[in-house]
């Protein structure tokens, strides 16, 4: 019988066990990045800037030139990279604590300068790596290890909607929020990522893709319940879609 190749894992995705917890969405995002870069023929010219968090080990899985940045500083590091190596495709991978809390100044200004980089922002509403503390994205009422009664707006403020904030900045050419919790969302996410790479390749400006992600471990849920939570709680709080694409057709 003739064998038909129905699926091939990207060459630049390392064939190794990951450190991610079962049901973690980081792994899915990693794989999507690897195939996105490879399919677009960009892997060999990519420089990835890894942030601090559960995605910090991306260099063990997505095999491209990679530089580690201090917590929150990845957009500034990537600025230095892109300005020094303008022909490279520069990719930044940050979590929500990293990007929306300690690194808020760096992300806002890299975006506002219109740095020609692509930021992949993985929002799982908690500080995953440090054990599930409140993040700037934690939803109202959501229990974390530092909001044992659930996040209260009066004392803890509100979940930050970074894609909406990014969209308002003139330096941003592309901003989208996607999810990877089902096939339909995965397909849209793939498309958004491809578009973000195109925006950088065409020198149009700053691209931002927010991935809503499950952290089953710190949500104290199994993988299926965590996937459902993305639909039931996260998407209502963080609406999906292409929020900005200055060069593309109006969405």
């Amino acid at each position: 019988m003739q064998e038909v190749l129905a699926y091939k894992s990207p060459d630049i995705l390392a064939d190794v066990p990951t450190h991610f917890c079962p049901g973690c969405h980081h792994g899915i995002v990693h794989k999507m990045l690897a195939s996105g870069l490879e399919d677009a023929g960009l892997a060999q010219k990519s420089i990835c800037v890894a942030a601090i968090g559960c995605g910090a080990f991306i260099y063990n899985y997505v095999l491209v030139d990679t530089l580690e940045a201090p917590h929150g500083r990845a957009p500034a590091v990537a600025t230095g990279v892109k300005r020094s190596s303008p022909d490279s495709l520069v990719l930044v991978y940050q979590g929500d604590g990293d990007l929306a809390s300690i690194g808020l100044a760096e992300i806002m200004h890299a975006a506002n300068r219109g740095e020609k980089i692509t930021v992949v922002y993985v929002n799982n509403t908690v500080y995953g790596m440090t054990g599930g503390q409140m993040a700037p994205t934690t939803m109202l009422g959501q229990k974390t290890t530092t909001t044992p009664l659930g996040r209260q707006s009066g004392s803890d403020g509100y979940p930050m909607q970074m894609t909406e904030i990014m969209s308002r900045l003139q330096g941003v050419s592309f901003a989208a929020r996607v999810a990877v919790n089902n096939i339909k969302n995965l397909k849209k996410a793939q498309k958004a990522l491809r578009r973000a790479f195109e925006v950088q390749e065409q020198g149009l400006g700053f691209g931002f893709v927010e991935f809503l992600a499950a952290c089953p471990t710190n949500w104290r849920m199994n993988a299926l319940d965590a996937n459902a939570r993305v639909d039931n709680e996260m998407i209502p709080c963080f609406p999906l879609g292409i929020h900005k694409d200055v060069a593309g057709e109006a969405q």
Binding site: D65, E68, A76, G80, R83, S88, E106, H109
Partner: protein, 350 residues
């Protein structure tokens, strides 16, 4: 090349451009603003990159990114801003990355003032950020030396793959002197070819990071760093002035070294047997030269524009051979050669 009349700050900025600096990242702070202002005019029109960053934190991290691409890059600031750069400098040291950091230091602690001070000596030579690392520290004493040492700073940063600091102060930054410039160095595209990030192309991907979790790797890296610092001892530089027959050797660095030199010259004319040793590299420290003088039976006195920092390294260097007296000039005003006469005479006769 040519003879020009410039401030210390501008000499550093010109030195950077002539040494092949392609990227500059900074944030405004007195008394170093001439550096970014000069480079904002010159770098972009010569194919380089100038960024006024959102903070010193961001500027130092941009330096880290440029260093990882093997590009000659620089940031500059003054004391409060240098504190903010320490995180990135520690990561650069931990990732073996080159970069030049200029500190035109001012009075502290806190906001202090905008006048000269040497209060950042410890921060500069003992690491400054977290972890067991050092940066190479160069301390120019004149505008010409500020220009020349900027060339050295870039060469050393790439030779040792380590952050290099030029430690000046408000006196050096604002002082105007004639200098001779050099033939600009074209960028050496090969100096980082074996390790820089540029996209993997046909080779296997490179990773630059400070995180070392695998058993034994962090210990080994700390050991490698120490070996690097020992190797860097061959870069030690210092100036001696009238030390051979001196009874008392005054040790002073940077612009204070320069001012003390005038004091020593005057006291010599009056028949007092004093000399000067001016460390030019603060790390690595010119301990061997001090030890040589100590073995000759010299006495020592350290003068600083702080309440006693470098004196600890002087005492450590000559420990068991000699002692060092100390005189500290308080920040808040500009010392003159006369300010040091009485303290030196007191030490000499004491």
């Amino acid at each position: 090349m040519s003879r020009i009349f410039v401030k210390g700050n501008e000499a550093i900025a010109r030195g950077a451009v002539d040494a092949g600096c392609r990227c500059y990242f900074g944030y405004p702070i007195t008394p170093q603003n001439d550096i970014p202002e000069y480079l904002s005019r010159v770098l972009p029109v010569s194919g380089g990159e100038f960024i006024q960053a959102e903070s010193e934190i961001a500027a130092a991290n941009m330096l880290l990114g440029a260093g990882a691409c093997g590009v000659r890059a620089m940031t500059s600031s003054s004391s409060p801003g240098i504190s903010l750069k320490q995180e990135a400098i520690s990561y650069m040291a931990g990732s073996d990355l080159p970069g030049v950091i200029v500190n035109i230091s001012r009075g502290g602690p806190g906001l202090g003032d905008i006048g000269p001070s040497q209060g950042d000596y410890f921060q500069a030579v003992k690491g400054g950020g977290h972890g067991d690392y050092r940066q190479i520290v160069l301390a120019p004493g004149s505008v010409q030396e500020a220009y020349d040492l900027t060339f050295e700073a870039f060469d050393l940063a790439f030779e040792y793959r380590n952050p290099v600091m030029i430690l000046g102060d408000a006196i050096l930054g604002q002082m105007m002197e004639p200098i001779d410039t050099r033939e600009p160095a074209g960028p050496d595209l090969q100096e980082a070819a074996s390790w820089r990030l540029e996209g993997s192309g046909e080779r296997s991907p490179r990773i630059i990071r400070s995180l070392r979790l695998a058993e034994g790797t962090l210990g080994r890296h700390n050991q490698d760093l120490q070996e690097k610092y020992i190797k860097a001892r061959k870069e030690i530089r210092h100036e001696e002035f009238l030390t051979s027959d001196a009874r008392l050797v005054v040790v002073a660095f940077g612009s204070i070294g320069r001012i003390v030199k005038s004091t020593v010259r005057k006291l010599r004319k009056e028949g007092h047997m004093v000399g000067l040793l001016r460390p030019i590299t603060l790390f690595p420290f010119p301990a061997p030269a001090l030890q040589d003088l100590a073995r000759q039976g010299k006495r020592f006195m350290t003068i600083e524009h702080n309440m006693g920092q470098m004196v600890e390294d002087v005492r450590l260097s000559i420990c068991g051979l000699a002692e060092s007296g100390f005189y500290g000039h308080l920040p808040g005003n500009l010392p003159t050669p006369e300010d040091f006469e009485e303290p030196i005479l007191k030490e000499l006769t004491g």
